[in-house]
């Protein structure tokens, strides 16, 4: 773990470098490889006649931006949830928030024929909020507050509920099945930049609120009584963070579908490197989350050409070993 200021600053700069490298490789690698010179040329001096320029401008650039936003959003949502529930296994995927958003999006897409992310995002918010509410109340144990194992089970049960409803809807509307399947698996490809732009203001607002709350988040790790004694309005802070989580996770699902485990692994990596001070670990979670999703998406394009592995599958396969490790070493599991 990095403790001194100098080490932390250089660590943060290194992570930014990684992010930049991931962005460039996400733009360069793929079915049609593009050289670095070509990439620079397409950004500075755009030539619509060139195939490489066209691929970068229309397909890759929006894909890279989507992965960047979704990765950062999921990582911060996961970090906030882990602090809020004091549960190292918490993340939007495990606790059913993603599944709730996904179900409402499927309802919007099949029953109301909504298609663009800016329309679907409201469905996603509703779903995320519903799922969060259900899991919060199911996860409480009479007299003992929130128990980690119980919360995880509640999340999985809520996920099962929403997924089976979504399955039913998809079987009833089979003509929409193929278009939605890849999206259900989680994918950052094929999103127009114009479709994403309307979501950005709200997303950035949520991100800003999260970063402004860093001091309060640091206190939440303490006992509730102590925090109250220090003059923090615990209820208000919790509610605000809950809203931020719902906005971040909902936007991510509306953009990219079900991408699990980014919200789980990234906060653990960031905490391992920068410690538990939210002023460092929260922004770094965002950077590492974006890097991870960009890298996963780039690898997913190259594993079984000409087909692509859905990026949600990649992150799940990367995240499971860490989840199992955490589960085996979770303290205080009675």
């Amino acid at each position: 773990m990095l403790t001194s200021l100098l080490a932390r600053v250089s660590g943060a700069l290194f992570c930014l470098g990684l992010l930049l490298a991931a962005m460039v490789s996400s733009l360069v690698f793929g079915h049609i490889p593009v050289s670095l010179d070509m990439l620079a040329a397409s950004l500075v001096d755009y030539d619509p006649g060139s195939l490489e320029h066209l691929v970068i401008r229309t397909e890759r650039f929006s894909r890279t931006m989507t992965a960047l936003i979704v990765g950062a959003g999921l990582a911060i949502a996961g970090a906030l949830m882990q602090t809020l529930t004091r549960n190292p296994l918490a993340s939007p995927g495990i606790l059913g928030i993603n599944a709730g958003a996904m179900f409402f999006v499927v309802v919007g897409a099949t029953l109301f024929s909504l298609t663009s992310p800016s329309e679907l995002v409201w469905a996603a918010f509703t779903g995320a909020a519903t799922a969060a509410f259900l899991v919060y109340f199911l996860g409480q144990e009479a007299g003992r507050g929130i128990s980690p194992v119980r919360t995880v089970l509640a999340g999985v049960a809520v996920t099962a509920l929403f997924v089976s409803f979504a399955q039913g809807l998809l079987i009833l509307n089979q003509d929409r099945f193929e278009s939605i399947l890849f999206w259900l698996a989680g994918s950052v490809s094929g999103r127009d930049l114009e479709a994403i732009l309307p979501l950005l203001p709200l997303f950035c607002l949520a991100l800003l609120v999260a970063l402004l709350l860093c001091r309060q988040l640091n206190l939440l790790g303490l006992d509730d009584e102590v925090v109250r004694g220090l003059g923090l309005k615990v209820g208000h802070v919790r509610l605000l963070i809950g809203l931020v989580v719902i906005v971040l996770a909902g936007t991510s699902v509306a953009m990219a579908g079900l991408i699990g485990f980014v919200g789980l692994i990234v906060p653990h990596m960031a905490r391992g490197i920068f410690g538990t001070d939210h002023r460092w670990f929260l922004p770094l979670s965002a950077i590492l989350g974006a890097t991870l999703l960009l890298a996963a998406d780039t690898v997913a394009r190259l594993v079984i050409p000409p087909q692509e592995v859905p990026v949600g599958v990649m992150t799940a396969l990367m995240g499971t070993p860490l989840f199992l490790h955490l589960a085996r070493h979770l303290r205080k599991v009675s």
Binding site: A142, A157, Q167, L330
Partner: protein, 348 residues
Amino acid sequence: MTRSLVLRSPKDRWSVKLNVRVLVVTLALAVLLAVSSLLALASGSHPTSFMEVLGTLVAPGQSELSLIILEIRLPRIIMAILVGGALGSAGLILQGLVRNPLASPDVIGITSGASAAAVLFLWLGGVAGTSLLLAPVAMGGAFAVALCITALAWHRGISPARLVLVGVGLAAALTAVTTLLLVLSPDSTAMNAYIWLTGSLYASQWHDVTALAPWLVVCWPLALIKLRHLDAQSMGEDMAQGLGSALQSHRLLFLVLAVGLAGSAVAYAGAVGFVGLIAPHMARRLVTSGHTGLLPIAALIGALILLYADWIGRVAFIPRDLPAGIFVAGIGAPFFVYLLYRLRRELG
């Protein structure tokens, strides 16, 4: 005090204590199940009267009607009862084992194991509905995953909390693999696999019934005899050991029983969810009893849920025949919300 009957053998070699309320509820549910089955037998795309059904059952003939009833509807209804019963009892055993009311075969990864194996099989070229190998492959998947979960959660014996968490983690990875295979499959195969994943009893045959029944004939009596040890465990580990119950070997036995029941059911009917989660809760609402008394009730409720779900899917959208799994979630969701409400009231 609850009233109970005590049966003793001569010389007191064994005795059985029967709770009267449990007996009454079991009988009432069994009657309800029998009546519902007869009604389900009489309805379908080819309309038949109730008397005709009774006539065919008493004296089977060679007519088209008796072919429809005896070869198409009857095996399907019996499959619904057996699969629902197996899932309900597997859920009860798992919830008792993990000591958590939210556990069920689909939550802790047993169903995901079967699903991943089945979808892999379909991807490699098997055909759902006609291939006899699909069910054994799916069951193999369920047992393989159960073995992995046990091995990973092993730390000086089975720890229920770790069992749950490891199961949840493995289930997530297996779901990812299943999704990957679905995306890689051609569209028609993907849709078939998706229907299998939802759980459907479409085109169940008598050979499915005869293949599933032996598992249940072994597992249910064994569970009835051994479940009293689960009652001992629910009082705490120390208490169970103090009462002379071998903690770890019984945990292993219950896990094997749950996997046997759930794995075989899922293998023949597809990944039906939710029955294992809600049937035990409904049973606990009806009677207050140890696990032995709850087992037949949970099994009967599970059978009723799946029977009704399949009936709705078969009859409500004629000419389409929809997978039962869709309606299980529909029936299960209101109860799930009720569960939430009850939990809140207990807290407040």
